[in-house]
C-alpha cells in the first residue's frame, strides 16, 4: 500500500509493472555479495550488506514491532533476520524481489519469537496480568488521550485482537507497504486468500475503531 496515493482521485498513471523489469538494486547487490562470499572476501561482503540493511531496517523494525509489541524483541528479531539473510543469501533466487524474500525471513523470525514467548508464558504461569498492551497504555489519563496516546493504544489493541492470519496480512500489507501479490509470495497463501483476509481485517478494525472516528 502506498500512502502517497490519493484514493479519491483515480490515478491514470498507475500501470501494470512490466514483466521483464530490470533487477532491483537490492537484487544486484545480493548477487555481488554472493560473488564476494564465494571468493572469500567476507569483509567486503559484509560492507556491501550494510547498504541492504540501511535500506530495509526501518520497514523491518516497524513490521517486527507490530508482530511482537516489544521493542527489544523486535530489535533482536530484525537482527536475526538480517543475519539469516546474509548466511542464506545463496538460496535467494533473483526472480523474486529481494524485499519479498527478506520479509519472509523476518516474518519467520518474528513468528519463532512469538512461539518462544508463548512457551515461556505457559511455563511461567501468570507472573502478572501479562497484558500485551504497551506499559504506557495501562493507565491512560485524559491528558494522554489528548496527546493521542490512547488512540494509538486503541489501534494497537484492535490489531492485536485480529485473528493471526488477518493480522499477519494486515501488518504486511498496511505497515510493510506490500501488495497482496507480494504478501502471497511471502506467506504462501493464495493472492485471493490474502485479499479476503485483508478485507476482513480492515472491516473489523473499522468497526472496532468507529467510535474514534469522530473524536479524531
Amino acid at each position: 500500500m502506498k500512502r502517497t496515493r490519493s484514493a479519491a482521485a483515480p490515478s491514470s498513471t498507475a500501470a501494470p509493472v512490466p514483466s521483464a523489469a530490470p533487477p532491483s538494486p537490492d537484487t544486484v547487490t545480493a548477487s555481488d555479495i554472493r560473488a564476494m562470499v564465494s571468493r572469500g572476501e567476507l569483509s567486503a561482503a559484509r560492507e556491501a550488506f550494510d547498504y541492504i540493511v540501511i535500506r530495509h531496517q526501518r520497514r523491518a523494525s516497524r513490521i517486527a514491532l507490530m508482530y511482537l509489541r516489544d521493542t527489544a524483541e523486535a530489535d533482536e528479531a530484525v537482527q536475526d533476520a538480517f543475519v539469516r539473510a546474509f548466511t542464506r543469501l545463496e538460496t535467494y533466487r533473483d526472480e523474486h524481489p529481494f524485499e519479498v524474500w527478506f520479509t519472509r525471513i523476518l516474518v519467520n523470525a518474528c513468528v519463532d519469537r512469538q512461539r518462544a514467548r508463548q512457551r515461556r508464558a505457559r511455563r511461567l504461569v501468570a507472573l502478572d496480568d501479562m497484558s500485551t498492551e504497551p506499559a504506557a497504555g495501562r493507565s491512560a489519563s485524559p491528558e494522554r488521550r489528548a496527546t493521542g496516546l490512547a488512540w494509538r493504544e486503541a489501534v494497537n489493541a484492535a490489531v492485536e485482537r485480529l485473528p493471526a492470519r488477518q493480522r499477519e496480512v494486515f501488518v504486511l500489507c498496511h505497515l510493510g507497504d506490500h501488495t497482496p501479490r507480494d504478501v502471497s509470495m511471502m506467506t504462501g497463501m493464495r493472492e485471493s486468500t490474502v485479499r479476503v483476509h485483508l478485507f476482513r481485517a480492515v472491516h473489523k478494525l473499522r468497526a472496532a475503531l468507529g467510535a474514534w472516528r469522530d473524536l479524531r
Binding site: P10, Q57, R58, L65, D75, V159
Partner: protein, 192 residues
C-alpha cells in the same frame, strides 16, 4: 456500460486502495458517484491514520541511535561468524610434498598386511590338523579312535564349562581350556 444503480462494495474499494493496478470500471464510476467517492475517502482516511499511528510509534521507538546500534549489532554478529568456505583437504602444498612418502608407506603397509594374511592361512594349526586328520581318515578308517577322541573332547568341554561357572577356579581346572588352545611351541615343533 455501467448500470446507474451499481455501486462498488467495500472490498472493491479496498482493492482500489491497495492495488497498484488500474481499475478502469471503478475509476469511471468514482468520477461521477459522490457517495462512493466519500466512502472511499473515509476508508482511505482510516487506513492512512492506522498506518501513521503504527509507523510513528515504531519510528519513535526505533530512533536513529537505536537503528545505528542495530546495524552495529548485525555487523558484529556477521563478523563473529566463521568463514563459510570449505578448506581444501589435504592442502595442495601438503599433497605434493608428502605424496611419495605417503605412497611408499601405504605400499609397505599393504604388502605387510598381505604377507601376514598369507602366512596365517599357510601356518594355521587348524588347517594342518584337519588336513592330517582327513588324510589319516582316508588311509586308515578308525571309528573306535574317533569315538574315543570325541568322548575326550566332550569331557574337556564339560571341564571348561564347570571351570568357568565356578566362582573360584583353580589353575589345574583350566588345563582343558589350555589343551584346546594352539601353542607356539607346537607350531614351532611342527615346522621343524
Amino acid at each position: 456500460m455501467i448500470c446507474a444503480d451499481w455501486h462498488p462494495d467495500d472490498e472493491r474499494l479496498l482493492a482500489r486502495y491497495v492495488d497498484r493496478d488500474m481499475d478502469a470500471t471503478l475509476d469511471q464510476h468514482l468520477a461521477w458517484c459522490r457517495s462512493c467517492t466519500r466512502r472511499l475517502d473515509a476508508m482511505t482516511r482510516d487506513l492512512d491514520r492506522w498506518h501513521h499511528v503504527a509507523a510513528d510509534e515504531a519510528d519513535a521507538l526505533f530512533d536513529e541511535p537505536r537503528m545505528a546500534a542495530q546495524r552495529r549489532g548485525i555487523q558484529q554478529r556477521l563478523g563473529a561468524m566463521p568463514a563459510a568456505r570449505v578448506l581444501p583437504f589435504p592442502a595442495p602444498g601438503d599433497t605434493e610434498r608428502h605424496a611419495p612418502i605417503a605412497r611408499i608407506a601405504a605400499a609397505v603397509l599393504l604388502v605387510a598386511m598381505a604377507g601376514a594374511a598369507v602366512f596365517r592361512v599357510l601356518e594355521m594349526p587348524g588347517r594342518v590338523n584337519s588336513t592330517a586328520l582327513r588324510a589319516a581318515a582316508t588311509r586308515n578308517p578308525a571309528p573306535v579312535r574317533v569315538v574315543r577322541e570325541a568322548a575326550a573332547d566332550a569331557t574337556e568341554l564339560e571341564d571348561i564349562d564347570l571351570a568357568l561357572v565356578r566362582p573360584r577356579t583353580a589353575v589345574a581346572e583350566l588345563r582343558a581350556l589350555d589343551e584346546f588352545t594352539p601353542h607356539v611351541r607346537d607350531i614351532v615343533a611342527q615346522r621343524r
